[in-house]
Symmetry: C2
Subunit: 187 residues, 2 copies
DNA sequence: CCGTTGGATGACACTCAGTGACATGACGAT
DNA sequence: ATCGTCATGTCACTGAGTGTCATCCAACGG
């Protein structure tokens, strides 16, 4: 057919975001996304395992950054401190994607199916963080709960960050969420 | 057609569990479940919003029991203590369903789709617990994090309870999970 | 005894997500 | 020029989920 075009993955993501934003997730078919990207439905599924995944392919990068951050944390820090300190590189990257994150959040907020996918991505993240902690020598139980708590802190902070308009507020919101967690488990 | 039979909901659940256990979730079609229950695919979807939901209709009862337990907690307890104390009625009910829970857990463990649904049910639970705390006068932020943490404690304890063979161990596992959480956030 | 009404179910056609198998066309290497 | 490979297209198919209408059955009032 016509000549090969680059960045099919990116074109599909862009087309999907546009259409979801215009008509909503449910009212958009995979065939329509593919058509706007100049491709076919079959090719869409070569790049994304399912329709939802087009909104979640950034999760890999988030996980990589977080694990790098954890690896760079001081050796004598407590498990939970390691986990939250590891969010520094993540905060940096998010700063530049605030608007995209807001659009994406609006789409996800309107769809239970997408919320399910978001939660399992978070859970996978927690599993990866947990393994990273165990490799640092943290006990299995502490690693599990620190990872879960750390992801909860991240999730709460992220939700607030998306709701407000300052792209640079991420680090501050993480600190606040962590402080809140500490204060209520201290008693 | 043939005579009307009672408890269509229960028959569909039973047929589904049997088939999922025999052949696995993916290899079972809704039409097959309905056929074993003496019904049609269309009727299945009148009782369950989708195929997964047949494994999660117990979540409503869990939520109800937990909220009752929270309502019965001492007025001067800390938010997290209120939440975990509220699990007493839940522990009681689970004691009688240990075997069912084990079969169900095996099915869910083998299927990412089902894990997604499980997580969102947990999240909905957290939302309900959070609202219950707010109604008790807990601040919005403390309620959010106490509910999230409480559900995490529940989730961890539940996973351990399913893995082992003592149906009565639930309360003890909750206490242990809570103690672990406290010890790692105290530092 | 009969007609009516309402709730539960069946029948059927339809859309759309997702997959498997195979074809095609561009491109680089030899 | 030919070969192989990679990205994509084509097509047929399964199965989830829905809208719509038909049918059956029990309860109820006259």
């Amino acid at each position: 057919m016509s000549r090969w075009k680059p960045d099919a993955h990116g074109r599909l993501m862009g087309a999907a975001i546009e259409l979801f934003d215009e008509r909503g997730y449910d009212a958009t078919t995979v065939a329509e996304i593919a058509e706007r990207a100049g491709l076919t439905k079959r090719t869409f599924f070569r790049y994304f395992s399912d329709k939802r995944e087009v909104l979640f392919s950034g999760a890999d990068q988030l996980q990589r950054l977080w694990l790098e951050g954890i690896a760079g944390a001081p050796a004598d820090a407590t498990p939970l401190a390691v986990v939250t300190a590891g969010l520094d590189p993540v905060a940096e990257m998010f700063t530049e994607r605030h608007e995209f994150a807001q659009i994406r959040a609006r789409i996800i907020e309107a769809n239970p199916e997408l919320q399910e996918r978001e939660l399992i991505k978070l859970q996978n993240l927690a599993g990866a963080v947990e393994r990273a902690l165990v490799e640092r020598g943290v006990s299995a139980n502490a690693a599990l709960l620190a990872a879960q708590s750390g992801v909860t802190v991240f999730h709460v902070a992220f939700a607030h960050w998306v709701e407000q308009d300052d792209p640079t507020a991420f680090r501050r919101l993480i600190a606040k969420s962590l402080a809140d967690l500490r204060s209520l488990t201290a008693a």
